[in-house]
Amino acid sequence: MESLYEQNQSDVNEAKSDGRAELIPSIKLRHCCLLRNQRCVAAYLYDRLLRIRALRWEYGSVLPANVRFHMCAEELQWFSQYKKSLASFMRSLGADGLDITQDMKPPKSLYIEVRCLKDHGEFEIDDGTVILLKKNSQHFLPRWKCEQLIRQGVLEHVMS
Protein backbone atom coordinates (compact mmCIF):
# COMPACT_ATOMS: atom_id res chain seq x y z
CA MET A 1 0.00 0.00 0.00
CA GLU A 2 2.83 2.32 0.79
CA SER A 3 4.34 1.98 -2.68
CA LEU A 4 0.98 2.65 -4.31
CA TYR A 5 0.58 5.72 -2.16
CA GLU A 6 4.02 7.03 -2.96
CA GLN A 7 3.49 6.60 -6.65
CA ASN A 8 0.22 8.44 -6.34
CA GLN A 9 1.74 11.25 -4.35
CA SER A 10 4.45 11.87 -6.89
CA ASP A 11 1.89 11.88 -9.68
CA VAL A 12 -0.38 14.26 -7.81
CA ASN A 13 2.47 16.65 -7.29
CA GLU A 14 3.40 16.45 -10.91
CA ALA A 15 -0.15 16.96 -12.05
CA LYS A 16 -0.58 19.97 -9.85
CA SER A 17 2.66 21.63 -10.71
CA ASP A 18 2.95 20.83 -14.37
CA GLY A 19 -0.73 20.74 -15.19
CA ARG A 20 -0.50 17.22 -16.65
CA ALA A 21 -4.15 16.29 -16.49
CA GLU A 22 -3.69 12.92 -18.14
CA LEU A 23 -2.17 11.58 -14.91
CA ILE A 24 -5.46 11.99 -13.07
CA PRO A 25 -7.09 8.69 -14.14
CA SER A 26 -4.05 6.73 -12.95
CA ILE A 27 -4.16 8.61 -9.67
CA LYS A 28 -7.82 7.71 -9.30
CA LEU A 29 -7.09 4.09 -10.08
CA ARG A 30 -4.40 3.85 -7.47
CA HIS A 31 -6.63 5.58 -4.93
CA CYS A 32 -9.37 3.03 -5.59
CA CYS A 33 -6.87 0.23 -5.07
CA LEU A 34 -5.77 1.78 -1.81
CA LEU A 35 -9.37 2.09 -0.61
CA ARG A 36 -10.09 -1.50 -1.55
CA ASN A 37 -7.02 -2.71 0.30
CA GLN A 38 -8.04 -0.73 3.34
CA ARG A 39 -11.51 -2.26 3.21
CA CYS A 40 -10.16 -5.79 2.90
CA VAL A 41 -7.80 -5.36 5.82
CA ALA A 42 -10.49 -3.78 7.97
CA ALA A 43 -12.95 -6.56 7.06
CA TYR A 44 -10.49 -9.28 7.99
CA LEU A 45 -9.66 -7.67 11.33
CA TYR A 46 -13.31 -6.99 12.13
CA ASP A 47 -14.22 -10.59 11.39
CA ARG A 48 -11.53 -11.76 13.78
CA LEU A 49 -12.97 -9.46 16.44
CA LEU A 50 -16.42 -10.96 15.97
CA ARG A 51 -15.02 -14.45 16.41
CA ILE A 52 -13.15 -13.42 19.56
CA ARG A 53 -16.39 -11.97 20.89
CA ALA A 54 -18.12 -15.28 20.21
CA LEU A 55 -15.38 -16.98 22.24
CA ARG A 56 -16.27 -14.91 25.28
CA TRP A 57 -19.88 -16.04 25.08
CA GLU A 58 -18.90 -19.65 24.53
CA TYR A 59 -15.97 -20.22 26.82
CA GLY A 60 -16.44 -17.66 29.57
CA SER A 61 -13.92 -15.19 30.90
CA VAL A 62 -10.79 -17.29 30.68
CA LEU A 63 -9.71 -18.45 27.26
CA PRO A 64 -7.92 -21.76 26.76
CA ALA A 65 -4.20 -21.42 26.15
CA ASN A 66 -4.22 -22.69 22.59
CA VAL A 67 -6.75 -20.05 21.58
CA ARG A 68 -4.79 -17.30 23.30
CA PHE A 69 -1.73 -18.39 21.37
CA HIS A 70 -3.44 -17.45 18.10
CA MET A 71 -4.30 -13.94 19.17
CA CYS A 72 -2.03 -10.91 18.93
CA ALA A 73 -1.44 -8.51 21.81
CA GLU A 74 -3.98 -5.94 20.63
CA GLU A 75 -6.62 -8.63 20.27
CA LEU A 76 -5.98 -9.79 23.82
CA GLN A 77 -6.34 -6.22 24.95
CA TRP A 78 -9.60 -5.86 22.99
CA PHE A 79 -10.82 -9.05 24.60
CA SER A 80 -10.06 -7.93 28.13
CA GLN A 81 -11.68 -4.56 27.46
CA TYR A 82 -14.78 -6.28 26.07
CA LYS A 83 -14.89 -8.56 29.11
CA LYS A 84 -14.78 -5.54 31.39
CA SER A 85 -17.57 -3.71 29.53
CA LEU A 86 -19.75 -6.80 29.55
CA ALA A 87 -19.10 -7.45 33.22
CA SER A 88 -19.95 -3.90 34.26
CA PHE A 89 -23.14 -4.07 32.19
CA MET A 90 -24.18 -7.34 33.83
CA ARG A 91 -23.38 -5.98 37.28
CA SER A 92 -25.62 -2.99 36.71
CA LEU A 93 -28.75 -5.09 36.22
CA GLY A 94 -30.88 -5.26 39.33
CA ALA A 95 -29.43 -5.34 42.82
CA ASP A 96 -26.62 -7.89 42.45
CA GLY A 97 -26.39 -8.13 38.72
CA LEU A 98 -27.55 -10.91 36.43
CA ASP A 99 -25.17 -13.18 34.54
CA ILE A 100 -26.69 -13.22 31.09
CA THR A 101 -24.09 -15.60 29.72
CA GLN A 102 -25.88 -18.34 31.64
CA ASP A 103 -29.27 -19.76 30.68
CA MET A 104 -28.54 -19.99 26.98
CA LYS A 105 -31.26 -22.54 26.32
CA PRO A 106 -34.80 -22.70 27.69
CA PRO A 107 -34.83 -24.83 30.83
CA LYS A 108 -36.50 -28.19 30.33
CA SER A 109 -36.13 -29.75 33.75
CA LEU A 110 -34.61 -29.01 37.10
CA TYR A 111 -32.14 -31.87 37.28
CA ILE A 112 -30.20 -33.35 34.41
CA GLU A 113 -28.23 -36.49 33.87
CA VAL A 114 -24.58 -35.70 33.10
CA ARG A 115 -21.56 -37.82 32.33
CA CYS A 116 -18.10 -36.67 33.28
CA LEU A 117 -15.64 -36.44 30.41
CA LYS A 118 -12.52 -35.68 32.35
CA ASP A 119 -11.39 -35.71 35.95
CA HIS A 120 -12.42 -32.49 37.55
CA GLY A 121 -12.06 -33.22 41.22
CA GLU A 122 -14.67 -32.43 43.81
CA PHE A 123 -17.80 -30.45 43.13
CA GLU A 124 -20.10 -29.06 45.76
CA ILE A 125 -23.79 -28.48 45.19
CA ASP A 126 -26.26 -26.29 47.02
CA ASP A 127 -27.31 -28.54 49.86
CA GLY A 128 -23.70 -29.23 50.80
CA THR A 129 -23.13 -32.66 49.31
CA VAL A 130 -19.80 -33.05 47.57
CA ILE A 131 -19.59 -35.05 44.37
CA LEU A 132 -16.38 -36.48 42.99
CA LEU A 133 -16.21 -35.92 39.26
CA LYS A 134 -14.19 -38.77 37.87
CA LYS A 135 -13.92 -39.61 34.20
CA ASN A 136 -16.94 -41.53 32.87
CA SER A 137 -18.95 -41.29 36.06
CA GLN A 138 -22.59 -40.33 35.71
CA HIS A 139 -24.50 -38.02 38.02
CA PHE A 140 -27.93 -36.51 38.40
CA LEU A 141 -27.28 -32.87 39.17
CA PRO A 142 -29.14 -29.54 39.22
CA ARG A 143 -29.14 -27.97 35.79
CA TRP A 144 -27.98 -24.52 36.73
CA LYS A 145 -24.86 -25.83 38.43
CA CYS A 146 -23.80 -27.88 35.44
CA GLU A 147 -24.29 -25.35 32.68
CA GLN A 148 -20.88 -23.76 33.03
CA LEU A 149 -19.09 -27.11 33.20
CA ILE A 150 -20.98 -28.43 30.18
CA ARG A 151 -19.84 -25.43 28.15
CA GLN A 152 -16.25 -25.95 29.23
CA GLY A 153 -16.42 -29.56 28.12
CA VAL A 154 -15.95 -31.15 31.53
CA LEU A 155 -19.45 -32.63 31.70
CA GLU A 156 -21.66 -33.98 28.96
CA HIS A 157 -25.45 -33.87 29.03
CA VAL A 158 -26.80 -37.38 28.60
CA MET A 159 -30.18 -37.57 26.96
CA SER A 160 -31.61 -41.03 27.25
Binding site: V41, L93, L98, D103, L110
Partner: protein, 223 residues
Amino acid sequence: MSDPPSDDGSDAIHDDGQDVMTPAELIAKLEEAWLNEKFSPELLENRSEVVECVMEQLTHMEANLQRVKKGDAKASMHRMEIDRIRFVLSSYLRSRLQKIERFFPHILEREKSRGEGDPSLLSPEEFAFAKEYHANTETYLKAVALKRMPPNLQTVDMLKAVPEPCLDSFVFLRVKERQENILIEPETDDQREYVVDMEEGSQHLMRYRTIAPLVSSGAVQLI
Protein backbone atom coordinates in the same frame (compact mmCIF):
# COMPACT_ATOMS: atom_id res chain seq x y z
CA MET B 1 -47.68 -19.94 32.58
CA SER B 2 -48.94 -20.20 36.13
CA ASP B 3 -48.90 -17.19 38.39
CA PRO B 4 -45.50 -16.74 40.01
CA PRO B 5 -45.46 -17.41 43.77
CA SER B 6 -46.35 -14.41 45.81
CA ASP B 7 -46.25 -15.88 49.28
CA ASP B 8 -45.79 -12.64 51.05
CA GLY B 9 -48.27 -10.53 49.23
CA SER B 10 -46.20 -9.07 46.46
CA ASP B 11 -49.41 -8.95 44.56
CA ALA B 12 -48.98 -5.46 43.33
CA ILE B 13 -45.96 -4.01 41.58
CA HIS B 14 -45.65 -0.31 41.05
CA ASP B 15 -44.44 0.55 37.62
CA ASP B 16 -42.70 3.86 38.16
CA GLY B 17 -45.63 5.28 40.03
CA GLN B 18 -48.10 4.47 37.31
CA ASP B 19 -50.74 1.73 37.22
CA VAL B 20 -50.17 -1.09 39.61
CA MET B 21 -49.46 -4.40 37.85
CA THR B 22 -49.88 -7.91 39.08
CA PRO B 23 -46.89 -10.22 38.72
CA ALA B 24 -48.70 -12.11 35.96
CA GLU B 25 -49.13 -8.94 33.94
CA LEU B 26 -45.50 -8.03 34.46
CA ILE B 27 -44.33 -11.39 33.14
CA ALA B 28 -46.71 -11.09 30.19
CA LYS B 29 -45.17 -7.70 29.37
CA LEU B 30 -41.69 -9.17 29.62
CA GLU B 31 -42.62 -11.96 27.23
CA GLU B 32 -44.09 -9.49 24.75
CA ALA B 33 -40.98 -7.33 24.86
CA TRP B 34 -38.82 -10.45 24.48
CA LEU B 35 -40.65 -11.75 21.41
CA ASN B 36 -40.72 -8.34 19.77
CA GLU B 37 -37.02 -7.83 20.34
CA LYS B 38 -36.18 -11.32 19.09
CA PHE B 39 -37.99 -11.02 15.79
CA SER B 40 -37.44 -7.41 14.87
CA PRO B 41 -34.43 -6.58 12.68
CA GLU B 42 -33.65 -3.34 14.50
CA LEU B 43 -33.18 -2.35 18.13
CA LEU B 44 -36.49 -1.48 19.79
CA GLU B 45 -37.17 1.01 22.56
CA ASN B 46 -35.70 -0.01 25.87
CA ARG B 47 -38.05 -1.29 28.56
CA SER B 48 -35.78 -0.85 31.54
CA GLU B 49 -38.69 -0.40 33.93
CA VAL B 50 -39.93 -3.88 33.03
CA VAL B 51 -36.41 -5.29 33.46
CA GLU B 52 -36.05 -3.69 36.88
CA CYS B 53 -39.42 -4.87 38.12
CA VAL B 54 -38.72 -8.39 36.90
CA MET B 55 -35.34 -8.42 38.66
CA GLU B 56 -37.01 -7.33 41.90
CA GLN B 57 -39.62 -10.01 41.47
CA LEU B 58 -36.93 -12.65 40.91
CA THR B 59 -34.98 -11.71 44.06
CA HIS B 60 -38.23 -11.73 46.01
CA MET B 61 -39.10 -15.18 44.70
CA GLU B 62 -35.64 -16.53 45.47
CA ALA B 63 -35.88 -15.18 49.01
CA ASN B 64 -39.24 -16.89 49.44
CA LEU B 65 -37.75 -20.11 48.17
CA GLN B 66 -34.93 -20.05 50.71
CA ARG B 67 -37.49 -20.05 53.52
CA VAL B 68 -39.44 -23.03 52.22
CA LYS B 69 -38.59 -26.46 53.64
CA LYS B 70 -36.33 -28.54 51.42
CA GLY B 71 -37.96 -31.40 49.58
CA ASP B 72 -41.32 -29.71 49.40
CA ALA B 73 -42.90 -30.42 46.02
CA LYS B 74 -43.94 -26.83 45.54
CA ALA B 75 -40.35 -25.68 45.88
CA SER B 76 -39.28 -27.42 42.68
CA MET B 77 -42.21 -25.92 40.76
CA HIS B 78 -41.30 -22.47 41.96
CA ARG B 79 -37.66 -23.04 41.12
CA MET B 80 -38.65 -23.99 37.57
CA GLU B 81 -40.69 -20.81 37.38
CA ILE B 82 -37.71 -18.74 38.51
CA ASP B 83 -35.49 -20.48 35.96
CA ARG B 84 -37.94 -19.83 33.16
CA ILE B 85 -38.34 -16.15 33.98
CA ARG B 86 -34.59 -15.75 34.28
CA PHE B 87 -34.15 -17.39 30.89
CA VAL B 88 -36.63 -15.01 29.23
CA LEU B 89 -34.98 -12.00 30.83
CA SER B 90 -31.47 -13.13 29.88
CA SER B 91 -32.56 -13.87 26.33
CA TYR B 92 -34.15 -10.43 26.03
CA LEU B 93 -31.03 -8.66 27.26
CA ARG B 94 -28.78 -10.84 25.12
CA SER B 95 -30.65 -10.07 21.90
CA ARG B 96 -30.50 -6.35 22.71
CA LEU B 97 -26.76 -6.52 23.34
CA GLN B 98 -26.22 -8.45 20.12
CA LYS B 99 -28.08 -5.83 18.13
CA ILE B 100 -26.14 -3.05 19.81
CA GLU B 101 -22.87 -4.76 18.88
CA ARG B 102 -23.94 -5.37 15.30
CA PHE B 103 -25.23 -1.87 14.57
CA PHE B 104 -23.27 0.25 17.01
CA PRO B 105 -22.38 3.22 14.75
CA HIS B 106 -25.97 3.70 13.61
CA ILE B 107 -27.39 3.38 17.09
CA LEU B 108 -24.92 5.85 18.56
CA GLU B 109 -25.67 8.25 15.72
CA ARG B 110 -29.38 7.99 16.42
CA GLU B 111 -28.83 8.66 20.09
CA LYS B 112 -26.82 11.76 19.28
CA SER B 113 -29.44 13.19 16.94
CA ARG B 114 -32.47 12.31 19.05
CA GLY B 115 -34.54 15.19 20.34
CA GLU B 116 -34.88 16.13 24.00
CA GLY B 117 -38.31 14.71 24.61
CA ASP B 118 -37.98 11.54 22.57
CA PRO B 119 -37.66 8.29 24.51
CA SER B 120 -34.23 6.74 24.41
CA LEU B 121 -33.50 3.55 22.58
CA LEU B 122 -30.85 2.56 25.11
CA SER B 123 -30.75 2.40 28.87
CA PRO B 124 -27.85 4.35 30.43
CA GLU B 125 -25.92 1.12 30.99
CA GLU B 126 -26.46 0.01 27.40
CA PHE B 127 -25.34 3.41 26.17
CA ALA B 128 -22.13 3.14 28.19
CA PHE B 129 -21.60 -0.36 26.81
CA ALA B 130 -22.13 0.84 23.24
CA LYS B 131 -19.68 3.72 23.64
CA GLU B 132 -17.05 1.47 25.20
CA TYR B 133 -17.49 -1.07 22.41
CA HIS B 134 -17.10 1.64 19.79
CA ALA B 135 -13.98 3.07 21.40
CA ASN B 136 -12.51 -0.38 21.90
CA THR B 137 -13.01 -1.43 18.28
CA GLU B 138 -11.62 1.82 16.93
CA THR B 139 -8.55 1.62 19.14
CA TYR B 140 -7.94 -1.91 17.98
CA LEU B 141 -8.25 -1.12 14.28
CA LYS B 142 -6.04 1.92 14.64
CA ALA B 143 -3.37 0.08 16.58
CA VAL B 144 -3.22 -2.92 14.31
CA ALA B 145 -3.73 -1.53 10.84
CA LEU B 146 -4.68 2.04 10.36
CA LYS B 147 -1.62 3.67 11.83
CA ARG B 148 0.50 1.84 9.31
CA MET B 149 -1.50 3.07 6.36
CA PRO B 150 -0.84 6.18 4.33
CA PRO B 151 -1.87 9.44 6.00
CA ASN B 152 -5.05 10.08 4.06
CA LEU B 153 -6.48 6.66 4.87
CA GLN B 154 -6.04 6.52 8.59
CA THR B 155 -9.69 6.66 9.53
CA VAL B 156 -12.52 4.32 8.70
CA ASP B 157 -16.00 5.77 8.51
CA MET B 158 -17.86 3.38 10.77
CA LEU B 159 -21.27 4.48 9.58
CA LYS B 160 -20.44 3.37 6.07
CA ALA B 161 -18.36 0.37 7.04
CA VAL B 162 -20.87 -1.35 9.32
CA PRO B 163 -24.04 -2.53 7.57
CA GLU B 164 -27.38 -1.07 8.59
CA PRO B 165 -30.22 -3.19 9.94
CA CYS B 166 -32.33 -4.52 7.10
CA LEU B 167 -35.72 -2.97 7.69
CA ASP B 168 -37.20 -4.64 4.64
CA SER B 169 -37.00 -8.13 6.08
CA PHE B 170 -40.32 -9.91 6.45
CA VAL B 171 -41.75 -10.60 9.87
CA PHE B 172 -44.74 -12.52 11.16
CA LEU B 173 -47.09 -10.52 13.28
CA ARG B 174 -50.36 -10.82 15.16
CA VAL B 175 -52.66 -7.83 15.35
CA LYS B 176 -53.72 -6.76 18.82
CA GLU B 177 -55.69 -3.65 17.95
CA ARG B 178 -57.70 -3.24 14.83
CA GLN B 179 -55.85 -1.18 12.24
CA GLU B 180 -57.24 0.51 9.21
CA ASN B 181 -55.66 1.84 6.10
CA ILE B 182 -52.18 0.51 6.38
CA LEU B 183 -50.35 1.67 3.30
CA ILE B 184 -48.27 -1.02 1.65
CA GLU B 185 -45.60 0.27 -0.67
CA PRO B 186 -45.20 -1.46 -4.00
CA GLU B 187 -42.15 -3.64 -4.39
CA THR B 188 -41.93 -3.70 -8.13
CA ASP B 189 -42.88 -1.13 -10.68
CA ASP B 190 -45.87 -3.15 -11.82
CA GLN B 191 -47.55 -3.16 -8.45
CA ARG B 192 -49.45 -0.19 -7.22
CA GLU B 193 -49.81 0.97 -3.63
CA TYR B 194 -52.73 -0.49 -1.80
CA VAL B 195 -54.21 -0.19 1.62
CA VAL B 196 -54.99 -3.02 3.97
CA ASP B 197 -57.27 -3.24 6.97
CA MET B 198 -56.01 -5.47 9.72
CA GLU B 199 -58.54 -7.19 11.95
CA GLU B 200 -57.85 -7.85 15.59
CA GLY B 201 -56.37 -11.30 16.16
CA SER B 202 -55.38 -11.82 12.54
CA GLN B 203 -51.86 -12.90 11.63
CA HIS B 204 -49.81 -11.54 8.76
CA LEU B 205 -46.43 -11.73 7.10
CA MET B 206 -45.20 -8.32 6.07
CA ARG B 207 -42.15 -6.17 5.60
CA TYR B 208 -40.95 -4.82 8.89
CA ARG B 209 -40.66 -1.27 7.56
CA THR B 210 -44.42 -1.01 7.01
CA ILE B 211 -45.41 -1.94 10.54
CA ALA B 212 -42.46 -0.57 12.51
CA PRO B 213 -44.47 2.25 14.15
CA LEU B 214 -47.20 -0.21 15.13
CA VAL B 215 -44.70 -2.41 16.94
CA SER B 216 -43.43 0.47 19.03
CA SER B 217 -46.95 1.59 19.91
CA GLY B 218 -47.90 -1.94 20.93
CA ALA B 219 -50.66 -2.41 18.36
CA VAL B 220 -49.13 -5.55 16.88
CA GLN B 221 -47.07 -8.37 18.34
CA LEU B 222 -44.25 -10.05 16.39
CA ILE B 223 -44.38 -13.83 16.48
